[in-house]
Homo-oligomer: 174 residues x 2
């Protein structure tokens, strides 16, 4: 990456993660109510939730959800990720806004919903993401997406953070 | 119900279940591929899947999913429903189209997805419903809905079937 805030994605497409973050902040403001609790999916979504918590002036820290234990490819992957779920509030009756960097097949979302319900029965769960890249394999959706793009299945897309804490997208051939 | 095919829903709204079924049939045709397997959510969705299987000229019988074991209010409800899950094909790698009569909070959908994944890892799961009544509490969506309507939370909406097998909607104050 030659510039700190942008990364080439597919062909001429440039995904400016910092610009998308500002759009996400605007979207989350519009979804937010007095009782909304932010919860980020590890790792990209957790970084987003952390920064949103600060930019929205919310007290305390956001929750973190790990998809590791409920993934439907658990048998293949095992516990590769060291991220652990932390929910610093009572999930029962809570209005939860889940943050993630990329919505793709929907399998991660199913996994983190199950992880969340292991902790209690929320009143509502909504989802806001930086990028919806299509390619859904489950009937799930984001309530807000800062960008909707089409990417070939041969490319992986994930959020990264540089030493200064600025967001970048990492695109790789898989 | 004074007429066999229609039922008053909310105020002046009339939901003609047979007309919506014909629209659903059209929608399911557009979603269908050579490998699509129909699976209905008991009980309304199972009736729809049964009739679609016939009207689409598909061999064999559709699958049935019960939400009873995975509901997040299982502790309150218990096993009230006697419907049991039957999946007459290998779920692993299958392209599944789930049918349901009404999409509302999304909690039933989460339950039946978990039920389905207990049997294997499908390649894809899509959802088609007769009516999307809004009021979502989870970030799920239907790939096709024959109608989208708003109903007060005080009304329940469910599909019924008369002695001749014709569909009607039952609307009740709850």
């Amino acid at each position: 990456m030659s510039t700190p805030h942008t990364a080439p994605a597919a062909g001429s497409l440039v995904l400016d993660a910092e610009a998308l973050y500002r759009e996400l902040l605007r979207g989350v403001r519009s979804l937010q109510t007095a009782s909304t609790r932010l919860v980020g999916v590890a790792s990209g979504g957790a970084w987003l939730a952390e920064r949103l918590q600060q930019d929205l002036g919310l007290p305390g820290v956001p929750g973190v959800l790990s998809s590791a234990l409920h993934r439907d490819d658990f048998a293949q992957r095992g516990l590769a990720s060291s991220a652990q779920t932390t929910l610093p509030f009572d999930v029962n009756g809570a209005d939860i806004l889940v943050l993630d960097d990329v919505l793709y097949t929907g399998r991660t979302l199913r996994a983190v919903l199950n992880e969340l319900f292991d902790y209690g029965r929320p009143a509502s769960v909504r989802l806001a993401v930086l990028v919806d890249r299509g390619g859904r394999q489950l009937p799930v959706q984001a309530d807000f997406a800062a960008a909707r793009i089409a990417l070939p299945a041969s490319r992986s897309l994930a959020l990264a953070r540089d030493a200064a804490g600025a967001f970048q997208f990492q695109v790789q051939e898989v």
